[in-house]
């Protein structure tokens, strides 16, 4: 990380603000995905604040680590962190999904420097991330590549095609993270299509696998460290999370997958988050 390192309690405070930003953004836009943004924010904030090499004032710095948000609908979380780190003015968060805005409903490298891939069609990001990791290896660069996926998303076959190939190239610079929040649109993920035993599946595909609590910043940080120390294998971090984490009435409630909070709900959510 090229910025000065935050104390953990400062990061906790930042993340609390990011959750507030997410709620405010979605409320203003009138649409979007709170559940999967709130479940992923601790992971994304840890990546940007602690783990990745990157320069907010030079988003296209060639030496940067790459972050591919494969579950593109969770992008409000990424925007909140990027604004918090100075990629763009925080004011711009207010323009989410507006016609002339750079902050679109799904991330696109065409609009906002610092976004690596256009995502939103689920299941594609890991292949792309794998290609980035492979080229870093070929060019002898030390870059690392991180790809965040949803648990519903990994039902897509293409995910498993990439999962099969990354170990073949011994991509120890590639880290796949699953936001295992146990929910998708049609209901609880493991009822729609059972994923378990999930760690065993990735292990069988020759990945180094780590399971963590995806809201515990110490565990997140340790997992990233362990991934760095792992040689000749890609790492899979299975992050157990809670969909809608941080807003009591959203937690674990499927209906909050893709609905923006109205004024009352926003007020209630902000009251909880502001404490």
């Amino acid at each position: 990380m090229t910025n000065s390192r935050l104390e953990k309690k400062e990061l906790v405070e930042k993340i609390r603000q990011y959750r507030i930003d997410i709620i405010e953004m979605l409320h203003r836009a009138g649409s979007g995905h709170p559940g999967g943004s709130l479940s992923a924010i601790d992971l994304i904030a840890s990546l940007y604040h602690y783990e990745m090499q990157h320069r907010p004032n030079e988003p296209l710095w060639p030496g940067r680590d790459r972050f591919v948000l494969s579950k593109g609908h969770g992008v409000p979380a990424q925007y909140a962190v990027m604004a918090g780190m100075g990629y763009f003015p925080k004011e711009e968060l207010k323009q989410l999904r507006q016609i002339n805005a750079r902050l679109q409903g799904h991330p696109s490298d065409q609009f906002l420097p610092g976004i690596e891939a256009s995502t939103g069609s689920l299941g594609m990001g890991l292949s792309f991330a794998m290609g980035c990791a492979l080229s870093a290896k070929l060019q002898g660069e030390s870059q690392r590549v991180y790809c965040l996926m949803g648990d519903g998303e990994i039902q897509e076959g293409q995910v498993w095609e990439a999962a099969l190939s990354a170990p073949k190239f011994k991509l120890d610079n590639l880290v796949a993270i699953i936001d295992y929040n146990k929910g998708q649109i049609d209901g609880p993920t493991n009822e729609v299509m059972n994923l378990e035993p999930l760690m065993d599946k990735w292990r069988a595909f020759n990945w180094h696998c780590i399971a963590i609590d995806g809201h515990n910043l110490d565990q997140i940080e340790q997992a990233f460290q362990e991934a760095r120390l792992t040689q000749s294998k890609p790492t899979l971090i299975l992050a157990h999370t809670v969909k809608g984490k941080g807003v009591s009435f959203m937690e674990g409630v499927i209906d909050w997958h893709g609905a923006a909070p109205n004024a009352d709900e926003t007020a209630k959510a902000l009251q909880e988050l502001k404490g």
């Binding site: 016609i99 069609s121 519903g152 076959g157 649109i185």
Partner: protein
Amino acid sequence: MRKRALDTVFALAQQDERVVYIGSDVGQGTLQGFQESIPERFFVEAISEAYVIGMAAGMAMTGFVPYVNTIATFLTRRCLDQIAVDLCIGNHPVRLVANGGGLVYAPLGPTHEAIEDIALMRCLPNMTVLVPCDAEEMERAVRASLDWSGPIYIRIARGGESVVSLPERGFFIGKAIEVRQGEKLLIATTGVMLQTALEVQDIMARAGYNLGIVHFHTVKPLDTAWLANQLGPYSHVASLEEHSVIGGLGSALAEWLCENGDHKLKRFGIPDRFADRFGNQAKLLSYFGLDAASIAKELQAWVKPS
């Protein structure tokens, strides 16, 4: 429109044991009744569109008529090969019920905007392409789909559109509906652009035009008999669709007219590029010049009143 489409699938399923519903994580909201009353023919599958197409084809081969419902881009772009191989080569009666045709998902960006779905489906042999204009016509289209042989793509547009179709005009797959006879200038529409065409007609009437309107709810097979017999009063044809100017209704008409007619053709549609603006559907349509006022203006510059 989506609700009516799915309600009709449910109604058909109650009457006909061949009817099966397969959704791919699109939310089953209105179909709870289906799930409860006929669970053995109701499938909530994972986020795995390509596999769902294969599954539907296998079921169709053994006598079922599967209605597959998910977002249009993921059905058409992601599953193109599965649709070509599993559905079209074998000519299997699977119905692809596609949410968000056109710019409905404008706030979600190019991954979700189905602006080339008609083109992709139209170029596949054996595929039929239906683009109803309102909820009433959607119901007629879904009912007509039941016994049609071969695969069908059914495009669902935005919800809440005004009802402009007339029951007495019926719905026959492959038959165009002449909404209004005029002279000199004809607008050919598909889907919810019919409503826009009617607005254009209002504006143009005030400027002294006598506009004809024909609605192609079936883009493929194109009603060439109508074109061959009914284009007499017109010298100019304008196509109007919420779709890329490449490959949709405008292209279908261009193909036919260039071999069979000497009419001037103007294609109104989405230009050949991914949306570089988001916002919402109405704003994006205006941005692309597909609102009634812009269209009327362009038509008036193109053709003098009769």
